[in-house]
């Protein structure tokens, strides 16, 4: 369970997050949407300690992220993250990249790590690309490799930061399908995205953020049929046009 309690964050004088409260239970899929600059990506990076925050508390299975004594490296082994721009290592083949952290962090043998990597590549649908370099892959394939890389560490939680925003339209679906399967298999997921179709299908809760704050939240039923705030309605009108 991830508990986010009263999180506030400033860059200098500029407040990027204000009083964020949320609980994400095991097996849940939570989708966050909102205009750019609303702090959604920043929130994700606070959860796995990539960015610091000034006020509040984040507990991941009881471990406090903001506590200086917490071993963030160990924490990050439990939270996988997928980025908007894929961020694959350009100098490594797909299989080496996926196997890297399991080998160096979890001390698995090369054989074991590569076998697991192949398994994951099968799962995301591109086992034939195991020995390709990122430069030889399409955007959709790259993002699926990124998902496999994150899954290789067998995390308890997966966070996605606008995973399909940088993809050409025809490749969005192949990535969403992987994410939908992941959600249905019971992975606890926190997804920042504008893909409302995805949200409708698997989201347990949808959150709308604006200006660093949570404006509205609800199940997909409540959210789409009865948005309470004007800002939410405006945003949905824009997105669903």
């Amino acid at each position: 369970m991830i508990e986010i309690k009263n999180i506030s964050k400033w860059y200098g004088n500029f407040q990027v997050l204000g009083d964020i409260n949320e609980v994400i239970g095991r097996g849940q899929t939570v989708v966050i949407c909102g205009p750019s600059g609303s702090g959604k990506s920043t929130l994700l990076r606070c959860i796995n300690g990539l960015e610091p925050f000034q006020k509040g508390e984040i507990l991941v299975d009881g471990i406090s992220v903001g506590d200086p004594k917490t071993n963030l490296y160990k924490l990050r082994q439990r939270i996988g993250m997928v980025f908007q721009r894929f961020e694959l290592y350009p100098h490594m083949t797909v299989i080496d990249m996926i196997a890297l952290a399991p080998m160096k962090v979890k001390k698995k043998s090369k054989r074991e790590a590569q076998a697991k990597a192949m398994e994951l590549l099968e799962r995301v649908g591109i086992p034939d690309k195991a020995h390709a370099y990122p430069a030889n892959l399409s955007g959709g394939q790259q993002q699926r490799v990124a998902i496999a890389r994150a899954l290789a560490m067998e995390p308890e939680y997966m966070m996605f930061d606008e995973p399909t925003s940088a993809l050409d339209p025809e490749m969005i679906q192949e990535v969403l399908e992987v994410m939908i399967d992941l959600s249905k298999e019971g992975m606890t997921m926190l997804v920042v995205s504008h893909e409302m179709g995805f949200a409708r299908e698997v989201a347990d809760e949808i959150i709308f953020m604006d200006g660093g704050r949570i404006v509205e939240r609800g199940t997909d039923e409540e959210f789409f049929k009865n948005p309470k705030h004007q800002r939410t309605k405006d945003f949905l009108n824009q997105i669903l046009k």
Partner: protein
């Protein structure tokens, strides 16, 4: 006509070999140290950034000859006995060239997007693991043309070890010249040798620059 050269060929080439050996040591040490210096220059910790920056800015203002002399005078005091010219020169070169390679690595590190490093961290890799498996390999590949160019400069700089009497090629050429007085042939020869090696090196650097520009992914 070229008897001054051919008659002393082994002696002169032996000197050239010394230049090559010195360059090899300088490059091995300088690149490794430069890797670390580059990290220091992008560090957010003041106690790392400040000393490293002072070191880099200081050495880049000073002639290499002076650094060579300085170590030549300092090392015996620290070691308690006179050091041989090669070791003294090698240390001077490593310390000096590390500042240049450090700046090259720094540019390489800075070209890596923040999120790529975050992606590595989010798989649980530690800082030093990320440095070792991700940052250094990527920076090195991206900056390869600059590294080759700097290596050529380092190779040329080894001629300056002349001033502490190291038996490298320029010193040996001047020794032969003082006997045979065939300056044109002798100095043309050493110039030619350096030219061939450095020109070839610059072609290699150009090749990688083109390759990088065409691929444009790394």
């Amino acid at each position: 006509m070229f008897s001054a050269v051919t008659g002393n060929l082994a002696y002169l080439l032996g000197g050239f070999l010394t230049n090559v050996q010195l360059a090899a040591c300088a490059l091995a040490g300088g690149i490794f140290l430069g890797m670390l210096v580059g990290l220091g220059r992008i560090s957010t910790r003041k106690w790392v950034y400040r000393p490293v920056t002072v070191y880099v800015d200081f050495l880049r203002n000073i002639p290499l000859i002076l650094v060579i002399f300085w170590f030549y005078f300092v090392m015996p005091i620290i070691a308690g006995r006179p050091l041989n010219a090669f070791v003294s020169a090698a240390i001077s070169f490593i310390v000096f060239e590390a500042t240049y390679f450090g700046e090259i690595f720094r540019a390489g590190y800075q070209s890596i997007s923040r999120d790529l490093v975050n992606a590595a961290y989010s798989t649980g890799l530690t800082y030093w693991q990320t440095v070792r498996y991700i940052m250094v390999p990527i920076a090195f590949r991206r900056m390869l043309p600059s590294m080759i160019t700097q290596s050529i400069i380092t190779f040329q700089d080894t001629s300056l070890a002349y001033v502490i009497g190291l038996q490298e090629m320029v010193r040996r050429t001047s020794i032969v010249d003082s006997i045979e007085v065939r300056s044109i042939q002798l100095y043309s020869f050493v110039a030619l040798l350096f030219f061939i090696v450095c020109f070839a090196g610059s072609r290699v650097s150009r090749y990688y620059e083109e390759k990088g520009r065409r691929a444009n992914v790394l």
